[in-house]
């Protein structure tokens, strides 16, 4: 049994995921406070070089095997269960992604460790982990402890700053023997998104335009802004009706329901039918010339202005 804080490293194409850095930074703070080590669990094939990116951890447990070249839930599970059982860390952190969900719950059942999902904060209190999680689509916060004092948490992206975990360094690399892997799930291939029209329900940034855009030619302005933000352009119904954007971009009751991290509502008045499709966005910023536009009722931030003025000024800042 130890006071170590384990972090499952997610990586792809030779790069460590941002969400992993977020966890590493926090794990380091918690491990220091608990008197243990921040330990990165790095599984793969030919990935030892990645350990130099994991400087926030004091130790890297490296499991390498041809069968780990790509993530599969079963192979990861057969490596992780014995590690966690033997070393009994204080806390195991994984991201709340497909990978994290696959691994964390299996570990929980197999190792008899409690699991807290959708964590937005992980802290120590009286020596034990205290987890804050978000339930009911973010409508309720829950603070929980592990009955046995140790456990697993899957953490939502953006819970901690990634910078704190992006430390170069040379943590101790400890190789873990990989015994027989569970091969019941076999990786076949990775499909990358086609260069077709974007799926706005999967975009984390949406620059959405309404009637305030005025004419079709102005769409190019918002496309430039969306590109600068790494997002996509979506619209309210009238814009799709006018054929200025494909109907696949329409947000709202008769379009698509979206839940991006950022929703910029530009020249959208905010009919209930539109609000229905986007009110779940994490951050809503609305620009509209009408101070009484209902969009300001659901937006987190608003400005009364002409989008045709604000958009170029904003694009300049986001690209500059």
């Amino acid at each position: 049994m130890s006071n170590d804080v384990f972090v499952l490293v997610e990586h792809r194409d030779g790069a460590v995921a941002d969400a992993t850095f977020e966890l590493l930074g926090r794990a380091r703070q918690l491990a220091v406070a608990a008197g243990g080590e921040a330990v990165a669990l790095l599984l793969g094939s030919g990935v030892e070089a990645l350990s130099s990116k994991l400087g926030a951890a004091q130790r890297v447990l490296l499991a390498e095997d041809a069968g780990l070249a790509e993530f599969t839930p079963s192979a990861y599970q057969s490596v992780l269960v014995p590690i966690v059982q033997e070393r009994a860390p204080l806390l195991v952190l994984a991201t709340n992604t497909g990978v994290g969900m696959d691994v964390a719950a299996g570990l929980s059942m197999a190792c008899g460790l409690a699991l807290a999902a959708y964590a937005t904060d992980v802290a120590l209190d009286d020596g034990g982990p205290v987890i804050t999680t978000q339930l009911y689509a973010g409508k309720v916060n829950v603070r929980v402890r592990f009955r046995d004092g140790r456990g697993i948490a899957t953490v939502v992206a953006g819970a901690f700053p990634a910078e704190a975990g992006q430390l170069a360094g040379s943590p101790i690399v400890e190789r873990v023997t990989v015994s027989a892997l569970d091969g019941r799930i076999r990786f076949r291939r990775l499909l990358r998104p086609e260069a077709g029209d974007v799926d706005i329900t999967r975009e984390s940034v949406l620059v959405s335009v309404g009637r305030g855009i005025g004419e079709a030619d102005n769409i190019a302005l918002v496309e430039a802004l969306a590109a600068a933000l790494g997002g996509a352009v979506s619209s309210s119904r009238p814009i799709a009706d006018a054929g200025w954007l494909p109907r696949t971009r329409q947000v709202g009751k008769s379009g698509l329901r979206v839940k991006p991290r950022l929703y910029l509502a530009l020249g959208i008045s905010g009919a209930p039918e539109h609000l229905e499709g986007m009110r779940g966005a994490d951050l809503i910023i609305a620009i509209n010339t009408d101070a009484r536009a209902p969009i300001f009722g659901v937006a987190h931030y608003g400005a009364v202005a002409d989008l045709l003025d604000v958009v170029p000024a904003l694009t300049k800042r986001m690209t500059g």
């Binding site: 009637r211 119904r237 009238p238 009706d241 109907r247 329409q250 009751k253 008769s254 379009g255 009919a271 209930p272 229905e276 209902p294």
Partner: protein, 432 residues
């Protein structure tokens, strides 16, 4: 052509005899290229439709085509009641045809049909079969689920159904809290309870009833959608479920008259609820207020050019044309002008029969919304100087027409007001 007798119907020229580019096109040769045996038609689809309860009259069509020029959807697309009949004759049972969902059940074709072919019964019957087979446009299925879950098409919390009363400015009693019989049970309806513009009308109604000293109450959070548009869109089970919930309430409380804001609710309570076990006096609010109009003490002039849009389910389908006009004529200052399509020939807004919940689906099959056509007609009637008002008496209308005012570029030229809002305005002292 100018010398020929001309019947002008909505911009379409109907000629008894026509020569175009020197060719007489009215001759017998233009009717049929060669003879066809009538038994060449497959009969299964027609047999199937007419075998449905409500579908019987489909067979009576003799293809006179009177229905097509009066069908509002025909004006904006390829759809027409006669064309629908031809499809069925050719073996299409409509279950997979988008046309199945374009009819708004406005009833204008039924009005002119010499054979009384009745889409108000045919369309729900075929749609019901589509619903049972799961062939429902997604956006309509979404609304059905909301109605099922929350009792309103918006999917809002039933607990918030009476939240609008907080800003009515007058007390609005809940019948459950009153604990005694009332004269008027006011059934508020969905859009009036939840939509921002509907709530404006609800508050105006509360003030007008109060000004008249009417002994009224509402059902509050217990009220559920009347379900009529779901019925017309083919979800009879959902309609019956909602009706049972409302009927339970109507039986639980004592009242003399049921007064409704929504013509669709009026239609349901008057014509459909009786077969489900509730019978009583039900009035649209315009019918309730019209006889009381002399008791209204107007305080200000409403100096506006007003035209009135007859809701299909108050006007044509239930025969009430006068009460709304009596109210408008009583408001001091209002100059009432009729649109070319009025009363029996009123033009549908596109929201009936489930159209309210099929906006995206319908948009893919028509050149413009019916509401947009209607708004153009209103602008042509009451002008573009900003004093023009399109008045309505159905809670579906304000949002539909206000959207259409914007999308037709008439922002600032025409406003949309429920009649109750105009009455309320005239009852207030003129603002500075």
């Amino acid at each position: 052509m100018r010398d020929l007798p001309v019947i002008k119907v909505d911009g379409v020229l109907e000629l008894e005899h026509a020569v175009v580019d020197g060719v007489d096109i009215s001759g017998h040769w233009n009717r049929m290229f060669n003879q066809r045996a009538i038994n060449a038609y497959p009969t299964e689809a027609m047999d199937w439709v007419t075998g449905l309860a409500g579908g019987e009259s489909m067979r009576d069509c003799y293809q006179c085509g009177k229905c097509v020029p009066v069908c509002p959807v025909n004006h904006v697309g390829d759809y027409g009641p006669r064309k629908l009949n031809v499809k069925v004759l050719r073996g299409n049972n409509l279950l997979d045809d988008p046309d199945l969902w374009l009819c708004t059940t406005c009833g204008n074709c039924y009005r002119v049909c010499p054979k009384e072919v009745n889409p108000l019964r045919i369309m729900p019957a075929i749609r019901e079969q589509a619903v049972l087979e799961g062939k429902v446009p997604d956006e309509l299925a979404d609304v059905f689920q909301k109605l099922q879950r929350t009792g309103n098409p918006q999917g809002e919390s039933p607990r918030k159904r009476a939240d609008w009363i907080a800003e009515a400015g007058v007390p609005v009693p809940l019948i459950s809290e009153l604990g005694r019989p009332v004269d008027v049970l006011w059934y508020v309806s969905d859009y009036t309870s939840y939509h921002p513009r509907g709530k404006d009308a609800a508050r105006a109604m509360a003030r007008v009833l109060t000004a008249l000293g009417v002994d009224f109450a509402i059902l509050g959070n217990e009220e559920r959608s009347d379900g009529d548009s779901a019925r017309l869109a083919g979800e009879s089970g959902l309609f019956e479920m909602l009706a049972e919930q409302n009927i339970k309430l109507f039986n639980k409380y004592q009242f003399r008259q049921l007064v409704v804001m929504d013509p669709h609710a009026f239609n349901a309570f008057k014509n459909e609820y009786p077969r489900l076990g509730w019978q009583g006096e039900v009035l649209h609010y315009t019918q309730f207020l019209a006889p009381l109009v002399d008791r209204l003490q107007f305080q200000s002039q409403v100096d506006l050019d007003v035209t009135y849009h007859d809701p299909c389910y108050l006007g044509r389908n239930n025969g009430e044309f006068d009460a709304p006009r009596r109210l408008l004529e009583a408001i001091p200052g209002i100059r009432l002008a009729e649109m070319p399509h009025n009363k029996q020939n009123g033009y549908c807004c596109g929201g009936g029969g489930g159209g309210m919940w099929l906006d995206g689906f319908v948009a893919d099959h028509v050149s413009e919304r019916l509401s947009e056509r209607r708004v153009r007609e209103a602008v042509a009637t009451v002008g573009t100087d900003g004093t023009g008002v399109l008045s309505v008496a159905c809670p579906y209308e304000p949002s539909r027409f206000e959207d259409a005012v914007k999308s037709t570029g008439n922002d600032g030229r025409l406003v949309v007001r429920d009649i109750i809002e105009l009455l309320d305005q005239a009852l207030q002292p003129a603002s500075a």
